[in-house]
């Protein structure tokens, strides 16, 4: 038999001025199961709380209803108070007499009546409350950082510097990401590599960071604090423990014509290669797709012959390792659309129509032209260059509908760099709008226009075609009343859209995180949880979430790192135990769940798994649903969906909510009988 205590708070005049609290307490005393009922001026004050504690002991209460302000305000206060008096905190509920009653209604009998009913509802609920313990899960204090671009690097360093272990994996042979490909950075025009490479080296040397390059995540199981990551270490064909990075093998490799990824296809590389001079680790790998030793069964083998250390190992195999981690930072970056998607821009046929990233390589001192702007077709310095912003972005018809965010700025930078390098050259930019929100960004664009004399034309380019060795760029100037413009250019740079990486969909699925319609990973809340995903313990950093510039990526990475560090600040995670569970019962039923698994797809957190119930000999008896308590957040959607009511949820159980509803109005219907 329940012995419920009801404590009605006047909240000074806040409740007491409108609601007849004394009467509410009197009425509540008559509700079945109520052992004690009292009203008091300020329940949340020390004497008020002591009153509750004393009553619990004196009247041997089994549950408490505090009728006061909103539970969103003082539920923790009163739950703590009751637990100090020795009963489980989850046996305390609050009726909202202030925000939902006294503050919104006039002083009237109907208001007091409402207060009485609100108390009654909660009394019926609390009678059915169960004592609950916060869920404790141990935390593995190692973070997995996916991706070694600037976002991943920043997150890894921040986490490592706060004293936790980090595993960083990068799919290419070196960390550095897109930032390592950039020439100078807006709006300061400082050299990208000069600020990045020290960070890369720091990652490699940090005692808390273990770096796996040429590696990919193949699976992630578990839940916050307790993930198991399976990582594929692709065979490098070179023993990096022995290799000293002398590069003799690279010099001798006869396969020299492979388009160079680092130079965005503008240069070539060998089959055994280091992607760029400042690579970390600065040791080569053999690209098996292009090496004849692998493509033509053992032909060549030159590198093994020249390597004085004997580091070349053609027999290496891909290896899968499993690592326990407590949190994951996804920083896998982005990709850019090529030039080949726009029919009117020649479908990528013209060599001198290049992407912004290619221009970066041309402008970079470490690039194929050593920083001289030369056009790819004949190596001549273009005297007239055209930049086209929004090439694919904000174009739902042919490209993507969103704004890629970085192109306005880098286009201004490109035009500026060009003018700094080719003083007599002419640079024009076709743009739709100039989006230069950011510290010193607008000033930067103005500088390009005003100081560096870049010709900004507001309008779209309708066509590009080749004529007499020139690229004819036809467009309109919409500020001049759609006046047609035609420019005979030597080179055209398309600020093509930033898009999600190929394979991000699969990666999201193996991480169990959501992604948007463009395959960018989805944050848990667009405003308030921009670095978390809806899978607890997995954070996002950088352009894998949406296109971002460097400062934004770095800020988000630091944000993600703080989330990880906060998670790792305790040995155990405590979570609210208000989660769902699938019932279990004795044989022969074991569970009323029939294993239809219609619930699996309703769970926003992919918390519902299949579980096999087996007999002692390991024979399958039944397959049923099981809710992973580490993943369930307690929304209750599955609870309402399950036809056989096999799923229930602590805190809002079937019997609790049923009783609450049935407690209302019932008197009237009984009266009428």
């Amino acid at each position: 038999m329940s012995r419920i205590g009801v404590f009605i708070c006047h909240c000074g005049e806040n409740i007491g001025g409108t609601v007849d609290c004394e009467k509410v307490a009197e009425t509540a005393a008559k509700y079945p199961g109520v052992a004690y009922s009292v009203d008091y001026k300020y329940m949340c004050s020390d004497p008020g709380q002591n009153m509750i504690k004393d009553a619990i002991k004196e009247h041997k209460l089994t549950g408490v209803v505090v009728a006061a302000c909103s539970p969103r305000m003082h539920e923790p206060t009163f739950r703590k108070a009751v637990s100090e008096a020795g009963i489980n905190p989850f046996l305390c509920e609050m009726a909202n007499l202030r925000e939902h009653c006294s503050w919104v209604h006039l002083k009237d009998d109907s208001t007091t009546e409402k207060a009485e009913e609100l108390v009654k509802v909660l009394v019926e609920k609390v009678k059915r409350n169960q004592p609950l313990e916060p869920i404790k899960v141990p935390v593995t204090k190692t973070a997995l950082v996916l991706g070694g671009g600037i976002a991943g690097i920043q997150a890894a360093l921040d986490i490592a510097n706060s004293g936790h272990k980090v595993i960083m994996i990068e799919k290419s042979p070196s960390i550095g990401g897109h930032m390592s490909q950039l020439s100078e950075t807006f709006p300061t025009l400082d050299c990208s590599q000069c600020i990045l490479t020290p960070r890369m080296v720091e990652v490699a040397q940090h005692p808390n960071i273990t770096l796996y390059t040429y590696a990919e995540l193949v699976g992630l199981d578990g839940f916050i604090g307790n993930f198991q990551a399976s990582i594929k270490l692709k065979a490098k064909s070179i023993d990096h423990d022995i290799c000293n990075g002398c590069g003799d093998c690279i010099a001798k490799c006869p396969i020299k014509k492979i388009p160079d990824e680092f130079n965005a296809g503008l240069g070539t590389r060998t089959a055994v290669y280091v992607p760029f001079p400042q690579a970390v680790p600065n040791k080569p790998v053999i690209d098996r797709e292009n090496c004849t030793y692998f493509t033509r069964d053992g032909k060549c083998g030159l590198c093994a012959k020249v390597c004085t250390k004997g580091a070349i190992d053609y027999s290496q195999k891909d290896e899968i390792i499993t690592i326990d981690v407590g949190a994951v930072v996804v920083a896998t970056g982005f990709d850019i659309k090529g030039t080949d998607f726009f029919p009117e821009y020649g479908y990528g046929r013209y060599k001198d129509v290049i992407t912004g990233l290619q221009f970066e390589r041309l402008a970079s001192a470490s690039g194929p032209t050593l920083g001289e702007i030369k056009r790819p077709s004949d190596g001549k310095v273009p005297q007239n260059i055209v930049f086209i912003a929004c090439a694919g972005s904000r174009d739902p018809a042919k490209g993507i509908e969103y704004c890629s965010k970085i192109c306005c700025m880098y286009t201004a930078k490109h035009a500026m760099l060009y003018k700094h390098k080719v003083h007599q050259g002419k640079a024009s930019v076709f743009y739709m709008d100039i989006r230069a929100g950011g510290k010193m960004y607008e000033e930067f664009v103005r500088r390009a226009i005003e100081e560096d004399d870049v010709n900004y034309i507001r309008g779209r380019v309708s066509r590009i075609y080749e004529k007499n060795g020139k690229l004819i760029v036809k467009g309109v100037d919409t500020l001049l009343d759609a006046y047609p413009v035609e420019i005979e250019a030597d080179m055209v740079v398309l600020a093509t859209a930033g898009i999600a990486n190929e394979g991000s969909e699969e990666l999201a699925q193996s991480l169990h995180i959501s992604y948007d319609q463009h395959n960018f990973f989805a944050e848990a809340h667009p405003k308030l949880k921009p670095v978390e995903t809806n899978t607890a313990g997995i954070m996002l950093a950088g352009a894998c979430q949406s296109p971002k510039d460097i400062p934004d990526s770095v800020s988000q990475a630091s944000g993600a790192a703080v989330k990880v560090a906060a998670l790792f600040s305790k040995d155990e995670l405590t979570r609210d135990p208000l989660i769902a569970y699938v019932n279990r019962c004795g044989p022969p039923t074991y569970s009323t769940c029939v294993g239809c698994f219609l619930c699996v797809s309703v769970c926003p957190y992919l918390a519902i798994e299949k579980e096999q119930i087996k007999d002692r000999n390991g024979n399958l008896i039944k397959e049923v649903a099981k809710i992973n308590p580490g993943l369930c957040q307690g929304c209750g959607t599955c609870v309402a969906l399950c036809r056989s009511k096999s799923i229930d949820i602590y805190g809002y159980s079937h019997s609790q909510v049923f009783a609450e509803v049935m407690a209302l109005f019932n008197e009237r219907s009984l009266e009428n009988v």
Binding site: L118, C635, L641
Partner: protein, 155 residues
């Protein structure tokens, strides 16, 4: 009927509408006292059977409210709820329930005023419609004996 005061039960999610109703309170926006709020974690938790139970127990009107689409604290509970209500409403309409007595709404934590308005409008509407006894009175009709029923049928 002049002094009829509708009994309204509101099924709301904790994160938006409950908080929105709290905001109506802190902003001291006055509304009709006829409503009783029952708190749920999310609209996804609201079992359609509870709506029937509320009508059975004598509610004259019902409000079901949660976070706006895209704002659900659990990202998708309200999308599932929306589908559930589309189907459920179709059924109630088909069976002849007075679904005009059920207000479905999205009220965010910032929409205290909207909450007050939803309550007031629902109360006014139900006051005009009068008590809803079509359904709640049925359990008082008692159980007809099989012969009675069969006779009624053949007649």
């Amino acid at each position: 009927m002049s002094n009829f005061e509708p009994k309204i039960i509101a099924f709301v999610c904790n994160w938006c509408t409950y908080a929105g109703a709290d905001l109506a309170g802190t902003s001291r926006i006055k509304y009709a006292p006829n409503v009783r709020i029952v708190r749920f974690p999310c609209t996804g938790r609201i079992d359609f059977m509870l709506l029937l139970k509320a009508l059975q127990t004598g509610a004259d009107g019902i409000i079901v409210s949660g976070c706006h689409p895209a704002d659900c604290h659990y990202t998708a509970g309200n999308y599932h709820a929306r589908r559930r209500w589309i189907i459920f409403k179709s059924l109630l309409d088909f069976v002849g329930f007075d679904t005009g007595r059920i207000t479905f709404s999205w009220v965010s934590a910032a929409e205290g005023a909207k909450w007050a308005q939803i309550v007031n409008e629902t109360v006014d509407k139900i006051r005009d419609l009068g008590p809803y006894t079509d359904y709640s009175n049925l359990n008082k009709l008692g159980v007809g004996t099989i012969t009675e029923v069969l006779n009624a049928r053949t007649a």
